[in-house]
Symmetry: C2
Subunit: 241 residues, 2 copies
């Protein structure tokens, strides 16, 4: 059996019961080394298969091969495995190569949800997730989505907002958003949420310091009703209070 497990954002406190039990019961764990470290104390004595960054295809292939031998194997992903994680790739590869192994996807808390909880309640109205990584989605498609989301006033969660290889995508994204949203729109930043050096910060589009943002940061841009109260970022659901 092959389990695709979302570990949540970082701490074991935010793993689901099912994810914990699965990690504990399988024979083999397959994952990127950073994620292996997140569950180190739970996997002593198990077979560990790890590859470097961008080794997703190799890891998926190995996990499927191991499951074919009849072993129980978990391939792990941070956050939720189905949101920009490993679930799609493993299912695609198993189908393409006609491997009929039993596969179960175990959901997890994705980064935006954990960041939102740390910041307050910014996702109480309609929102979207957009990854600013244009490695696999053309930048024009991403720009079009940013435009549409800002125009119709979604709360916008930006994944993979900024990296050394893409230092300008975030600025370009914010410029698109500014066509429709005020520069005073509230922005929440969750960096390394539920990990050791977590930083949560509430600012505005105008005051956002891009250099503080990296690939382990989630940026949440509010809608026109999002406000700050008692240090929390709140998007009203619409109750009359």
């Amino acid at each position: 059996m092959l389990y695709i497990v979302g570990l949540g954002p970082g701490s074991q406190q935010l793993m689901t019961q099912e994810a914990i039990e699965t990690i504990k019961k399988v024979d083999t764990i397959v994952g990127y080394i950073t994620y292996i470290h997140l569950v180190e104390d739970m996997i002593k004595g198990k077979d560990i298969v790890t590859t470097g960054m961008r080794g997703e295809i190799e890891r998926s292939k190995k996990a499927i091969e191991i499951a074919e031998t009849g072993k129980d194997v978990a391939i792990i992903s941070s956050g939720d495995a189905g949101i920009y994680g490993m679930a799609g790739l493993v299912l695609e590869m198993a189908a393409k190569e006609d491997k009929h192994v039993d596969i179960k996807v175990i959901p997890g808390v994705t980064a935006s949800i954990a960041a939102a909880a740390a910041l307050g309640a910014p996702l109480m109205n309609d929102f979207c997730h957009i990854s600013l990584s244009d490695l696999m989605t053309p930048w024009d498609v991403i720009k079009d989505r940013l435009d549409a989301a800002a125009k119709s006033d979604f709360v916008i969660c930006l994944y993979n907002p900024r990296s050394k290889g893409r230092p300008n995508n975030l600025r370009e994204a914010l410029n698109i958003i500014l066509k429709y949203k005020s520069e005073d729109t509230v922005v929440g930043i969750g960096k390394d949420v539920a990990r050791k050096h977590e930083i949560d910060k509430i600012t505005t589009i105008k005051d956002l310091d891009e250099t503080e943002i990296n690939m382990t940061t989630i940026v949440i841009v509010g809608n026109k009703n999002t406000y700050v109260a008692d240090g929390r970022m709140i998007t009203p659901r619409g109750y009359t209070l």
Copy 2:
């Protein structure tokens, strides 16, 4: 201390470790009766405060009042408390009434994530969440968001898709989506996910039977690349395989 706790979609297996520990340690649980039932076996001997459906404001007020007396109280929500749940309301009310109680939001697995895992991996590319309940958001705003999301080919998760009081919103929403997406677009339906009578189904916009959809159903409309393989709904991330 006031904890706002997302219980996940239904089964305790999908609760986070932190949610479980919090529910167990607090003195008082405040929640809608259906959610109280989800954690019944964990809360024996605790004070329980419950109100009927649409009693959200009353429940929030009570939870804040109890926290003010110095007790530890958890107000519970299904899914993630910050997504169309109780977190925003509690934070808004505490701020408005100038109640400086300590509040912590504990994130959970929201319904779309659990449904996605049950269906396969439909959320592997940019997606949005739109609630079709027009009780608190004007229908015109919702329609505008549906239009924008479909036009720029987001995967679309529909929350509160259909109720007795709003039998036609889903049909109207699908008609808007059909302006841009093919009638053969893959649609995933997750009903009562992680609960007793769970039904997961993969269909298309054309073949979707609206009468099967109710308020405990999540409808996930794929993007133009979403496909079905081995009975799973998959939205490719974009890897070249």
